[in-house]
């Protein structure tokens, strides 16, 4: 055994001089980098579907799905979700399009509010603000999948043309309302409007 070990040791410098070994090592390195690149891409693309602490999961803590739940005020040390603006009031609604199309309605007071729709992985699907909503400061939105849209087109309900129709392939996600909390006197109106905002099946 010891003789054999000595033999391999003495043959090492000879093998290192072999040009083939260098080429071989480079090829191994290249193969490793290539495989590493595949692992890198797989992880980065896989993260949004795998994280337990996603914003979508955290929104569930503030109330039941299918209604707008007022998020607690954004304060240092007690942020309901990371990276929310402390000078805004927020309400969020989790949805499941598998149960049918979703209709979102809200009438928030000025000076500023905005609406954004995120999928479960945190990607923005659609967003607008009070000036681009086009309905005189009212929010009326219909969220549905492509199949639901084609079914709906055959038998359109009343007032479909007044709605903003958002077609998405994401079944799960959440809607977020933000309203600027600038005037203490307006706060009561914003709270009432957020409590009256609906997010339910059509």
């Amino acid at each position: 055994m010891s003789a054999r070990a000595r033999k391999t040791f003495s043959s090492l410098p000879l093998r290192a001089l072999d040009g083939m070994v260098v080429v071989r090592m480079l090829l191994l390195l290249l193969a490793g980098l290539f495989l590493g690149g595949i692992i890198h891409i797989a992880i980065v693309l896989g993260v949004p579907g795998q994280v337990p602490e996603s914003a979508y999961a955290r929104v569930a803590a503030f109330g039941p799905d299918g209604v707008f739940n007022r998020l607690p005020d954004v304060e240092a040390g007690a942020e309901p979700l990371p990276m929310l603006d402390p000078m805004m009031l927020h309400a969020a609604c989790r949805f499941d399009l598998g149960e049918g199309p979703l209709k979102i309605e809200a009438a928030l007071p000025p000076p500023f509010w905005s609406f954004a729709l995120f999928d479960a992985g945190g990607r923005a699907i659609y967003s607008l603000n009070d000036r681009t909503s086009g309905a005189g400061g009212r929010l009326e939105v219909l969220v549905l999948t492509t199949e639901q849209l084609s079914v709906l087109r055959e038998n359109p309900p009343e007032g479909l043309e007044d709605l903003i129709v958002i077609e998405t392939d994401a079944l799960h996600g959440y809607a977020l309302l933000r309203a600027f909390d600038g005037e203490p006197l307006l706060r009561e109106r914003i709270e009432t409007a957020m409590a009256q905002a609906t997010c339910r099946r059509l």
Partner: protein, 219 residues
């Protein structure tokens, strides 16, 4: 059948080709090679993915002075790195139709912002219907605790006659426009959120004014 296979008239009588030396290895060497490849792949793949998700590379970043924004972050065209970062941290991006968030990690001279220093933020902000300015720490958490106000907004701002403003970022209350910071926070990042701004569409980015950040007293 087996007989027919073992006696192929086309190859019978031919000596096998000389195998190239790179293929002429024992099985144990092959296993070693495989182990090396997998080790390299694992270390490179996992560490680079971790780094990329931890601090997403700035694809499509918009830089105006010390301020940096990522306009595509809140759209359907967000790059997979910023999507992964947002998913992992649970951060809620400002979507394109809502506005655009600018972050400043340095002052206008390029020095990293320090929570122990006062800063003067002056000039004009990019066109927006409304903007807010708050102080965050390195982990993008709010820092100004214990103060009744959390930041500064464009509707409650003292301005000069020409529309310019001066905001003092300091841990203690200041006269004029005061942005509360925390002297004990870990790092300092200023977040300027522009709501309903034409910048989200990426047009008219040239010659857009953004406030300057100058360092004041440090403790």
């Amino acid at each position: 059948m087996t007989l027919a296979l073992s006696h192929d008239p086309e190859t019978d009588g031919l000596r096998p080709d000389r195998v190239p030396s790179i293929l002429r290895r024992r099985r144990r060497a092959l296993a070693l090679d495989l182990a090396i490849v997998i080790a390299i792949a694992m270390s490179v793949g996992f560490s680079s993915a971790y780094l990329a998700v931890e601090r997403a590379p700035a694809f499509g970043a918009l830089r105006l002075g010390a301020w940096e924004a990522r306009p595509r972050q809140g759209t359907r065209d967000a790059d997979p790195y910023s999507t992964a970062t947002h998913a992992r941290t649970g951060r809620v991006p400002l979507a394109g139709g809502e506005g655009l968030m600018f972050l400043a990690e340095t002052d206008s001279d390029g020095n990293t912002l320090s929570p122990r220093c006062d800063y003067e933020i002056s000039g004009q902000a990019a066109p927006a219907r409304l903007w807010t300015l708050v102080a965050l720490d390195r982990e993008m958490r709010l820092v100004a605790d214990g103060s009744p106000r959390s930041g500064v907004d464009s509707r409650h701002l003292l301005r000069r006659a020409n529309g310019e403003f001066v905001i003092t970022a300091a841990p203690r209350a200041r006269p004029g426009n005061w942005l509360p910071t925390s002297g004990t926070a870990r790092g300092l990042v200023l977040a300027l959120r522009l709501y309903d701004t034409p910048l989200t569409t990426g047009t008219g980015v040239a010659n857009v004014p953004m406030p300057e950040i100058r360092r004041g007293l440090c403790r």
